[in-house]
Symmetry: C2
Subunit: 297 residues, 2 copies
């Protein structure tokens, strides 16, 4: 089993999207450029959803054209539909991310569609991407619980992941949107999905709302996952429990991986400095414990 | 392997000892009584070190005589020497805790003694305890790193743990005082100690300074440890990195264990409410992510 773990840094998109403080376009560009300089291989840059839904990321095109893209580093952007895809392609996007919840209730509430309808909406996007040679990453959210329906059947998680993979996603990220998962359940969920989608095409995406993210990541590493989503400074919070923690902090993940003798290619000190700088922009303390410890130790 | 985990709640002693805000004696008593009501089996109540060293716990005798001790629940107190032991026994203490660092530099700096001298100082205390039928718990600190010497040889950790056990400690708690440990090292450390001291006589004590505590606990649970030290609300901070996190929050540990289908006998909602009440007394937010999530979800 490889000792290399690829971190998918989601702070500039998943993180900022859920932050109240408006971040200036120039600062978003500086954030991504600083993240590139840390050695990250994948940085989710922004989202081409409608600015009506996510005003924080209305400057997606400016951000994407403003960043210095480093060869070999991937900069996926979130795309909700064909319109978003075309806007993204206009500015030279080469990797996109599409998404569906594993929870029927969440899909209904979020995009007023069933799981099947939500997947069907992406079919034309996938077709265009295939034609254009654009890589597609898939997100499955609510894999360990849903804010609306509670329990999410494992069969639904497996089905959505399998469909996204079959539709052409080179990687499927499994997200515990509300952070209620614990290590045994996280591992069982990953194992069930990995029975149908190759482990090397899977990523895990944990939220630290209940403090469980790092333990869950460990449990999943132990059965072979080697791609982990995380957010510098823990940016993002939790939209379903205001005031609680959200995305696991990239610094804490990288510290754990390096401590375990695994490689990420990331300069932790640079990453932590970037996280503290971002936290300053957001007007609060960094959400990374390792980031805080590095600053005071 | 048993599915029951005993939590040793250290908030009233290890936690408060490292908190700046002075807590009133009546509040300390209320804290311990509330903790008893949650179903905890072990609650470290206070410390009989000299009030000169730890002013926060100068009221040890009043606290211990003020609490409602529930039959079957253990209330260990920290004891540094014979004088402390005698003060503790005067008020009816039935379990004590003694301590040594695994780091030579830490022992020198902290108590101006070598490891061997520090262990020798406890010999008369152990003898009195044996005679009096008093249970003794042993703490080994700096098991995964030292603020003064950095690396701590695993052989020293094993030696100190073995000695404490041989001297009569029914349980030896292995403490990552500065919280720099990661899961692989934590597990290797525990495994090395468990080769010389029975696993059922070992406990783990992790600090969350670098965000690793829960992952480390998971790694140790996986090789059989069933006793975990933790502090309600994450009380305590880190004296070696001011402003950073310290003791792992009991609520986060209990949430993980229950999620994994393990039992603790603890009412998590009561525990979290106690943690938030304590955080209020300390004038800050609870350091427990689960505690925060429970409050807002």
């Amino acid at each position: 089993m490889s000792d290399h773990v690829r971190i998918v840094e989601v702070g500039p998109r998943d993180g900022l999207q859920n932050e109240k403080a408006q971040v200036a376009t120039a600062d978003k560009i500086a954030l991504i450029d600083r993240l590139t300089a840390t050695g990250l291989q994948s940085i989710e840059a922004t989202s081409f959803v409608s600015p009506k839904w996510v005003p924080q990321l209305a400057d997606a095109a400016e951000v994407f054209t403003g960043i210095q893209r480093k060869p070999g580093v991937h900069y996926p952007v979130l795309v909700p539909n064909e319109k978003g895809y075309l806007r993204a392609r206009e500015v030279g996007v080469e990797e996109i991310a599409v998404f569906s919840a594993a929870s029927e209730a969440f899909n209904r509430k979020n995009i007023n569609a069933s799981i099947d309808e939500s997947l069907a909406r992406f079919a034309p996007v996938m077709a265009m991407a295939r034609e254009d040679g654009v890589r597609v990453r898939g997100y499955v959210s609510t894999v360990l619980g849903c804010p609306y329906q509670g329990e999410v059947p494992l069969a639904d998680v497996v089905r959505v992941a399998r469909e996204l993979h079959a539709m052409g996603c080179y990687e499927v990220s499994l997200g515990d949107t509300i952070g209620t998962g614990t290590p045994g359940k996280a591992r069982a969920m990953l194992a069930a999905v990995a029975a149908e989608v190759p482990m090397q095409s899977l990523a895990v995406h944990f939220h630290d709302t209940w403090g469980q993210a790092l333990a869950n990541i460990l449990a999943c590493l132990e059965i072979g996952v080697r791609v982990v989503d995380s957010s510098v400074a823990g940016a993002g919070g939790c939209p379903y429990a205001r005031g609680a923690s959200g995305n696991v902090a990239s610094e804490d993940v990288v510290y754990m991986l390096h401590g375990m003798g695994m490689t990420t290619g990331i300069d932790l000190a640079e990453l932590a400095a970037t996280g503290r700088w971002l936290a300053g922009l957001l007007g609060r303390e960094t959400g990374s414990r390792a980031g805080k410890a590095l600053a005071v130790s």
